[in-house]
């Protein structure tokens, strides 16, 4: 008996029990769609999280003045203090004191009004060090970045965020133009490449000037040598804990604080937060996928159940087919193919629904769903596999029926 003939016979058996077949297929398709969606959602969330990591800079430790766990009224709150200085940053950059810290970027920011010709725009002006690009994982769209020489000479140069450049000039090709900040004229030497979206703050609306220029020309006074944030880049992700310890003991030492509970600064690691979040999402994904896989298993048992009913119901037909010359293999294949068709149909419809949902849902729930060809192809294979695996027992049972006993069945 040819495969086409087997297919036709099996297909005929399926369509002659439409309702029953449809319900069996439903069991499979829910499972497949659920697996595709949960895996896609898990991958999507992990992608969102990891793109947030890279927008922050990699292997990053952030040192802020003040304490986040304020226990005494003496110290200022988190981020408000003036306890961090440029000298602290320089000390942290020392390879001898802190071998696990690769680069240091100290920053000092203030909200200022920028003027270009007749256009005004208020943005965050940040005094940065030349290692800013490396530490913060940013790149330039055009021009140059602030150099050591600019830093030393307190040069009046500015690097604009792409959005700031757009607002001021209507273009990002603005290298060589002049911008006035706090009645001082700055030359635009570069424009940052867009960082992509970031949920917390707009990294594309900013103006970067040398930290030294910021300290002496824009802020000045007693605040001149303080910095608002120090970004530390560890030599590797594995070196983060070591870098953390080095920075902490160095700063405690420099500030003359004995108990680490009294620290007048806070070191936080975004990477640590993010990796915790990733781990949580991973666990959640595994859990949800597990539930989805369970529903697939239930769907498979549904296939087996229907196939057993089908075999019992058609015992006489099996006997007759054997009397007419059907070898056991042909009978077995007929039922196997029937189960595989049920599985595949459920798989195809389930995958289609999963893909549609994956396209529609992100707009509704606001997190991305990553569809991989491998997941879709894999789930189709799994769907047929489920049909086959759960069809083997009923099909073998049908093939083994003795013709005369089968024919006699009422």
């Amino acid at each position: 008996m040819s495969w086409i003939e087997t297919l036709r016979t099996s297909w005929f058996a399926i369509v002659s029990h439409k309702m029953r077949s449809a319900l069996t297929v439903l069991g499979i398709l829910i499972g497949i769609a659920a697996v595709i969606l949960t895996v896609g959602l898990g991958l999507g969330t992990q992608k969102d999280v990891s793109s947030q990591i890279s927008s922050l800079g990699s292997n990053l430790l952030i040192v802020s003045p003040g304490s986040s766990t304020s226990t005494s009224g003496v110290r200022g709150g988190f981020g408000t203090g003036t306890t961090l200085t440029q000298a602290d940053a320089t000390a942290l950059a020392s390879k001898v004191n802190a071998p696990d810290i690769k680069a240091v970027d100290a920053e000092k920011s203030a909200s200022e009004e920028l003027t270009a010709g007749s256009t005004n725009w208020t943005t965050t002006v940040v005094g940065v060090t030349p290692s800013y690009l490396k530490v913060r994982s940013r790149t330039l769209e055009t021009g140059e970045f602030i150099t050591k020489a600019d830093e030393n000479s307190e040069a009046s140069v500015v690097v604009l965020g792409s959005e700031t450049a757009q607002e001021l000039f209507g273009s990002t090709r603005v290298v060589g133009q002049s911008v006035t900040i706090d009645s001082q004229t700055f030359e635009v030497i570069g424009v940052l490449a867009s960082s992509g979206s970031n949920s917390t703050s707009n990294l594309d609306d900013t103006a970067l000037i040398p930290l030294s220029t910021m300290a002496s020309n824009l802020v000045g006074g007693s605040q001149a040598n303080t910095v608002s944030t120090v970004y530390l880049q560890a030599t590797s992700a594995d070196a983060l804990p070591a870098a953390y310890q080095e920075a902490k003991s160095l700063l405690l030492n420099r500030h003359g604080i004995a108990a680490s509970g009294d620290a007048d600064f806070t070191i936080s690691s975004q990477d640590a937060l993010v990796s915790t979040a990733t781990a949580v999402y991973k666990t959640l994904t595994i859990l949800l996928t597990g539930i989805a896989a369970l529903s697939l298993l239930v769907g498979g048992i549904g296939v087996m159940n229907i196939m057993l009913v089908s075999v019992t119901e058609r015992t006489r037909e099996i006997g007759l087919r054997k009397a007419l010359g059907a070898p056991p293999g042909a009978i077995r294949n007929q039922f196997l193919v029937e189960a595989a068709i049920l599985g595949l149909t459920g798989g195809v419809i389930g995958a289609a629904l999963g893909v549609i949902a994956a396209l529609v849902l992100p707009g509704v729930i606001g997190s991305s769903i990553v569809l991989s060809g491998a997941a879709i192809g894999g789930s189709l294979v799994v769907a047929i596999g489920i049909g086959l695996v759960f069809g083997v027992y009923p099909a073998t049972r049908a093939a083994k029926l003795a013709p005369i006993d089968a024919l006699r069945t009422e």
């Binding site: 008996m1 040819s2 003939e5 005929f12 002659s16 006489r316 037909e317 007759l320 087919r321 054997k322 009397a323 007419l324 010359g325 059907a326 070898p327 056991p328 293999g329 042909a330 003795a402 013709p403 005369i404 024919l407």
Partner: protein
């Protein structure tokens, strides 16, 4: 294979010579049914020989073992002891796949309960043996329609069994039995569920098949039906009681 030059070796089905001896040979055939601890001997030593092209009726009271004989002859059931040679071949030595091939190629069944598949149209029912014999689909339809025309149902090929009368259904079953051109037709009370008119239709078909050279084994209760054959074998309590050759 040194004697291949002396004795022609026929491996191909087509070139196999028609057996000159009996098509069917039962020797000391015994069949014991076991259900739990109870054993019942339905056949108690049957010797029966049927030649190629014979038309034999098996008669006997209910429970005498007629259907059992028929199931054994049709390779649907196996003997407990004794021998069954079909065209000289010992059936007991064949495996399930070979048995299926024998049933498909050599034997055409007609059952008292028709045994048509209710979801298939008449011609789809008739083509089934050809499906398993590996005949191409275009040829299958052609031959199925031809067989249905032969039994006088050329205009009902697309009807399902439920849309046909009992007599018509049995004629579809006869068409199915003869479509594969088997050497042997086995019919177990084919007229048991039919009125006299339909009985006559079916028996006329058997007469034709007999004239065309087919071997027919017919099981029946009715004397008129048995009288249409050329030899009547009387069975009682699992033994052959008498044989009578008709003119």
């Amino acid at each position: 294979m040194s004697d291949a030059s002396v004795w022609p070796v026929f491996e191909d089905e087509e070139t196999e010579p028609r057996p000159t001896g009996p098509v069917i040979q039962l020797r000391g055939a015994r069949k014991t049914y076991k259900s739990g601890s109870i054993e019942f001997e339905a056949l108690r030593g049957i010797d029966l020989s049927i030649a190629d092209g014979e038309y034999v009726a098996v008669v006997g009271p209910s429970g005498s073992g007629k259907s059992t004989i028929m199931n054994v002859l049709g390779c649907l059931d196996t003997l407990t002891s004794g021998e069954y040679l079909l065209a000289g071949e010992n059936v007991e030595e064949l495996d399930e796949i070979e048995l299926a091939a024998v049933r498909g190629r050599r034997i055409g069944f007609v059952f008292q309960q028709f045994h048509l598949l209710p979801s298939l149209s008449a011609w789809r029912n008739v083509e089934l043996p050809l499906v398993y014999a590996g005949v191409h689909r275009d040829e299958r339809r052609e031959r199925a329609v031809e067989a249905l025309t032969k039994v006088g149902l050329g205009d009902r090929i697309d009807n399902r069994p439920g849309e046909l009368s009992g007599g018509q259904q049995q004629r579809v079953a006869v068409a199915r039995a003869l479509v594969g051109e088997p050497t042997m037709i086995l019919a177990d009370e084919p007229t048991g569920n039919l009125d006299s008119r339909s009985t006559e239709d079916v028996l006329a078909l058997f007469d034709e098949l007999h004239e065309a050279g087919r071997t027919i084994v017919l099981i029946t209760h009715e004397h008129d039906v048995a009288a249409r054959s050329r030899r009547i074998v009387q069975v009682r309590d699992g033994l052959i009681q008498s044989e009578e050759v008709l003119a």
